[in-house]
C-alpha cells in the first residue's frame, strides 16, 4: 500500500475508535449531571447512587476518549500536511477554538468534579459537573463545524491558490454543521440511553429474587435510558431527514451512491435492500428492491422531482473538475491518471442502511424498556435483559456506520466542492497527504492500532468489572474513625 492508502486507513481506524468513546462520554456526562442535580434538589439517596455508579463508568471511558483525541489533532500535521497547508487558514480556527473554549473547561472541571466531592460545596460541585458536560457538547460543536467545512466549504475567498477565511460566522453557522451537530449529539445520547437500559436491565434481572435495596436505582436508570433513547431517535430521524435533503444539494454523488441509483430517475424510487451485487463498483450490477417515488420525496419533499443518478453525475463532475488528476509529482503514481468520482458503492450503500437500521433497533429497545418497566415486569422477563445487553452495541454500530458513510461518501474529495460556493475551493484526497515514507506511516498505523486494541480490551474488562460490582463497588464503606476525617473522599 502507498502512503495515501495507509494514511486513509489510519484516519479511518483512529476516527472510528475515537468515536466509540466520545458519544458515550457526551451522553453519559449530561445524564450524570442530571442525576446529580436530582440528588442535590431532592436529597434522595437513589439519585446519589445513580450519580456515583454511572459516574464511575463515565470516568473509565473518558480517559480513552481524551487520549485518542490527541492523535486526531496531530494526525493532520503528520499524515496530511498538504491538506493542513491548503486549508490551515480556515480549518485551524475551529480546532484552536475547541481547545481554548471547550477542552480546557472539560479537562479542568472534570478534575474538580472527580476530586472535589469533599473539597467543594455541594452546589459548586454540581456546577462543575455541568461545566464539564456542557463543554463536551461545545467540543463536539467546534469539531463538527470543522468537519462540516470539509463537506461543504463556506465563508472563504480563493486567493493565491488557497481558501482564505472571510467569515468565521459562516463557518460556525454552516447549514451542514447545524444539521450535523444535533444529529451527532442525538447519536451520542442514544449510546448513553442504550447503556443505561442494558446495564440497568441486567441488574434488575439478576437481583430479581432477593429484595434488593438498589432496585429503585436500576428502575430509574432504565426509565431515564428509555426516554432518552426515544427522544434521541426522534431528533435523529428529523435531523437525518434534513441532512439528507441538504446532501442531495451539496453532495449529490454521496446520496446517489447511498442509493446505488445508477441513472437519473423522475420520480426516483428508494431502495430498501439490494438483492444483486452491491460489491461491484459498476452500479449497473446492483439490483435493488425499491419503493417507487420515495427517494424523490426524501430528497425534495415531493413525489415527482428528478433525482440525479451516478452516471450522469460522473459526467457532470468530469466537466467541472477534470477527467484526470493534475500532472503533479506530489501525486506519485496517480499523477495524470483518471479520477474515479464514484465512492465505494458497497460502503456507501450498506453504511447508510446500517446506520438507519441499527438506530431504529436501538430506539425500539428503549420503547420496550419503558413498556416493561411500567408495570414492573422487567425482573420476570428473562429475554428482555439479554436483549437489552446486546442492545448496548446497536447505537455504537449505527454511529460508526454513519461516520464511515459520511467520510467515505465524499471521496475522492477531502474538501468537497460547494456547488454554490467559490471556485477552486476543493481538494482531492490524493493531493492532501504528506510526502513521507511508507515506513513511517506503517509504523504509526501498526503501533496505534495495536495499542488501541490492547486498551480496548482493558476498557471492556474494567467496564464489566464495575458493572458487575454494582452500587457497592463504587461507594466505599463509611469511615467512622477520627483519623478518617481528613481523608480524601476520592484518590487515585
Amino acid at each position: 500500500m502507498d502512503v495515501l492508502q495507509l494514511a486513509r486507513w489510519q484516519f479511518g481506524i483512529t476516527t472510528v475508535y475515537h468515536f466509540l468513546m466520545v458519544p458515550l462520554t457526551i451522553g453519559l456526562s449530561v445524564l450524570v449531571a442530571g442525576m446529580q442535580t436530582a440528588w442535590v434538589r431532592t436529597g434522595d439517596q437513589r439519585y446519589y447512587k445513580m450519580t456515583k455508579f454511572w459516574g464511575k463508568l463515565l470516568l473509565v471511558n473518558f480517559a480513552m476518549g481524551v487520549v485518542t483525541g490527541i492523535v486526531q489533532e496531530f494526525q493532520f500535521g503528520m499524515n496530511w500536511n498538504a491538506y493542513s497547508r491548503f486549508v490551515g487558514d480556515v480549518f485551524g480556527a475551529p480546532l484552536a477554538m475547541e481547545g481554548l473554549v471547550a477542552f480546557f473547561v472539560e479537562s479542568t472541571f472534570l478534575g474538580l468534579w472527580i476530586f472535589g466531592w469533599d473539597r467543594l460545596p455541594k452546589k459548586v460541585h454540581l456546577a462543575c459537573a455541568w461545566a464539564f458536560s456542557l463543554a463536551t457538547i461545545a467540543s463536539a460543536y467546534f469539531i463538527l463545524a470543522a468537519n462540516s467545512w470539509m463537506q461543504h466549504p463556506v465563508g472563504v475567498t480563493f486567493t493565491d491558490g488557497k481558501p482564505r477565511l472571510n467569515s468565521i460566522w459562516a463557518v460556525l453557522t454552516n447549514n451542514t454543521a447545524l444539521a450535523a451537530i444535533p444529529h451527532t449529539i442525538a447519536g451520542a445520547f442514544s449510546v448513553a440511553a442504550a447503556f443505561l437500559v442494558g446495564i440497568g436491565g441486567w441488574h434488575l434481572w439478576r437481583k430479581r429474587r432477593s429484595d434488593d435495596e438498589h432496585r429503585a436505582v436500576w428502575r430509574s436508570s432504565i426509565r431515564l435510558g428509555g426516554w432518552t433513547g426515544i427522544v434521541a431517535f426522534a431528533v435523529l430521524a428529523i435531523t437525518g431527514d434534513f441532512q439528507g435533503k441538504l446532501m442531495f444539494e451539496q453532495q449529490p454523488m454521496k446520496m446517489a451512491s447511498a442509493e446505488a441509483l445508477c441513472h437519473t430517475e423522475q420520480p426516483a424510487s428508494f431502495s430498501i435492500i439490494a438483492i444483486g451485487d452491491v460489491t461491484s463498483q459498476n452500479c449497473e450490477d446492483v439490483k435493488t428492491f425499491n419503493v417507487p417515488a420515495l427517494l424523490s420525496f426524501l430528497a425534495h419533499s415531493d413525489f415527482t422531482t428528478e433525482v440525479k443518478g451516478v452516471e450522469d453525475l460522473v459526467t457532470e463532475y468530469q466537466a467541472e473538475y477534470g477527467t484526470n488528476y493534475p500532472d503533479d509529482p506530489q501525486l506519485g503514481e496517480l499523477a495524470g491518471k483518471p479520477v474515479d468520482y464514484v465512492p465505494s458503492l458497497p460502503v456507501t450503500y450498506w453504511g447508510f442502511r446500517i446506520m438507519i437500521g441499527f438506530g431504529a433497533i436501538s430506539a425500539g429497545t428503549g420503547l420496550l424498556a419503558l413498556w416493561l418497566t411500567r408495570k414492573d415486569r422487567i425482573p420476570d422477563t428473562r429475554w428482555f435483559p439479554r436483549l437489552a445487553l446486546l442492545g448496548i452495541a446497536t447505537p455504537f454500530i449505527g454511529n460508526s456506520a454513519g461516520w464511515i458513510f459520511t467520510e467515505m461518501g465524499r471521496q475522492p474529495f477531502v474538501v468537497v466542492p460547494n456547488p454554490s460556493g467559490v471556485d477552486g475551493v476543493w481538494m482531492f484526497t490524493a493531493q492532501a497527504v504528506s510526502r513521507i515514507s511508507t515506513g513511517e506511516v506503517w509504523t504509526s498505523l501498526i503501533a496505534l492500532s495495536s495499542l488501541y486494541a490492547v486498551l480496548g480490551v482493558v476498557e471492556v474488562f474494567l467496564m464489566r468489572k464495575y458493572v458487575r460490582g454494582g452500587i457497592d463497588g463504587v461507594i466505599p464503606p463509611e469511615q467512622t474513625d477520627e483519623e478518617g476525617k481528613d481523608a480524601l473522599a476520592f484518590a487515585y
Binding site: S84, V101, S107, T108, S437, L451, K465, Y466, V474, A491
Partner: protein, 335 residues
C-alpha cells in the same frame, strides 16, 4: 508589533505553559520509582497531580491547535518532519493518561505495578520527545522548497536536538521534585527536597548547554540577557531548595523555564523552522502565517478564552492547595 508576531509570542507562551505545568507532572511520574517507598507513597505522589494533570495536558493540545490556526505551514512541516518522535510521544501520552485512570481500578499488586511502569515510561518519554521536537524547530532541518523534510525518518535526531531532549527531561525531573516538596508532607517531602537539591546541578546542565549552543549560533544581545536570567533563577532555585523554601524554589524554576523558552524562541524569530539546506527554504513567521482575518478571529477568542483558563485553572490549584500525606489516602476500594 504585527499580529503575526503577536501570535508567534502567544504560541511560545502556550508551549511555555505546557512545559511549566506538565513539566512538573511529568517529573512526579518520573520520580515514582525513586522517591516512593511503598504503594501508599506512590498514591500520595500521583494524587498531588491527580486533579490537574489532565488540564495541564490541554496546553499541548492548544499549543498544537494554535500553530495549526495561526501558522499552518509551520504546523504542517514540523509535525510531518518529526513524524516518528511525535508518534512515540503520542503513544507514551496515551499510555500515561489511561494508566492514571486505571491503576487503582483493580486491587492487585501486579495490576498496579504494571500501570506504574506505564506511568514512569509515559512520564520520561514525552519530555524527551517534546524537547527534541522543540529544539528541532529552533535549530532547523534539511527542508526542500515545499517545506518538506529531505532525508530519512531520523533526520531530527542529532546531537544538538538530543541535548534539547535531555534539557527538557532534566528540567521536568527537578521541577517535579520541587513540586512534590511543595505538595507533600513528612518523610516523602524531605526526600523530594533532598533529591531536588542534589539533582539540580546535574539535571539542568543540558538546558544550560543547549541555551549556550543556541545563543552562540543565532543569539542576540537580549537573548544573552534572558539566558543569564535563566541561569541565575536556577541558582536561586537551588539555594531556596537547600534553605527549605519550597514555594520560592518552585517559582524560581518557573522563571528558569520561562527565560529558557524566551531565549530559544527569541533566537529563532523571525524564522519558525529554519532549513539547514538553504536559507531560502526556511519557514518564517511571515511566510507561514494565516491571513490577517483568521489571526484577528483567533485573537478575539484568545483574548477572552485564555484569561478565563488562567482563572479557573488557578482556582483548581487553590481548591487542592493542601499538602497531601499518607494518612489522607483512603483504603483501596474496588468491586
Amino acid at each position: 508589533m504585527s499580529l503575526e508576531t503577536i501570535w508567534f509570542c502567544i504560541i511560545v507562551l502556550f508551549w511555555l505553559g505546557y512545559l511549566f505545568l506538565e513539566g512538573f507532572d511529568f517529573g512526579v511520574g518520573m520520580l515514582l520509582p525513586v522517591l516512593a517507598r511503598n504503594d501508599t507513597e506512590r498514591r500520595v505522589m500521583i494524587n498531588t497531580i491527580g486533579p490537574v494533570w489532565d488540564g495541564n495536558e490541554v496546553w499541548l493540545i492548544v499549543a498544537a491547535g494554535a500553530m495549526f490556526a495561526a501558522f499552518p505551514g509551520w504546523y504542517a512541516s514540523l509535525f510531518s518532519a518529526t513524524y516518528l518522535p511525535l508518534l512515540v510521544v503520542l503513544l507514551a501520552l496515551i499510555g500515561r493518561g489511561v494508566a492514571f485512570e486505571y491503576r487503582g481500578k483493580v486491587d492487585s499488586q501486579r495490576w498496579r505495578r504494571n500501570w506504574d511502569r506505564v506511568i514512569v515510561i509515559g512520564s520520561w518519554v514525552p519530555p524527551l520527545g517534546v524537547g527534541l521536537i522543540l529544539t528541532t524547530t529552533v535549530l532547523g532541518l534539511p527542508l526542500d522548497a515545499h517545506g518538506d523534510r529531505i532525508g530519512g525518518a531520523f533526520e531530527a535526531v542529532r546531537w544538538d536536538t538530543l541535548l534539547g531532549a535531555l534539557a527538557v527531561a532534566g528540567f521536568a525531573l527537578v521541577h517535579g521534585a520541587a513540586f512534590l516538596a511543595l505538595k507533600t508532607a513528612g518523610d516523602l517531602r524531605e526526600r523530594a527536597r533532598v533529591f531536588a537539591v542534589r539533582a539540580l546541578p546535574v539535571a539542568l546542565v543540558p538546558m544550560v548547554l543547549l541555551l549556550a549552543v543556541v545563543q552562540w549560533r543565532d543569539g542576540a544581545l537580549w537573548t544573552l540577557v534572558s539566558l543569564a536570567v535563566a541561569v541565575a533563577a536556577a541558582v536561586v532555585a537551588w539555594r531556596k531548595l537547600a534553605a527549605d523554601r519550597d514555594g520560592q524554589a518552585f517559582a524560581a524554576l518557573g522563571v528558569t523555564i520561562a527565560a529558557s523558552v524566551v531565549t530559544l524562541f527569541g533566537a529563532l524569530y523571525p524564522d519558525v523552522l529554519p532549513s539547514t539546506l538553504d536559507a531560502a527554504n526556511s519557514l518564517t513567521v511571515a511566510g507561514t502565517a494565516s491571513s490577517p482575518y483568521t489571526l484577528e478571529v483567533i485573537t478575539w477568542v484568545g483574548a477572552f478564552g485564555a484569561p478565563a483558563v488562567l482563572v479557573y485553572q488557578g482556582w483548581t490549584y487553590w481548591v487542592f492547595r493542601k499538602r497531601i500525606n499518607a494518612a489522607q489516602i483512603p483504603p483501596v476500594h474496588t468491586p
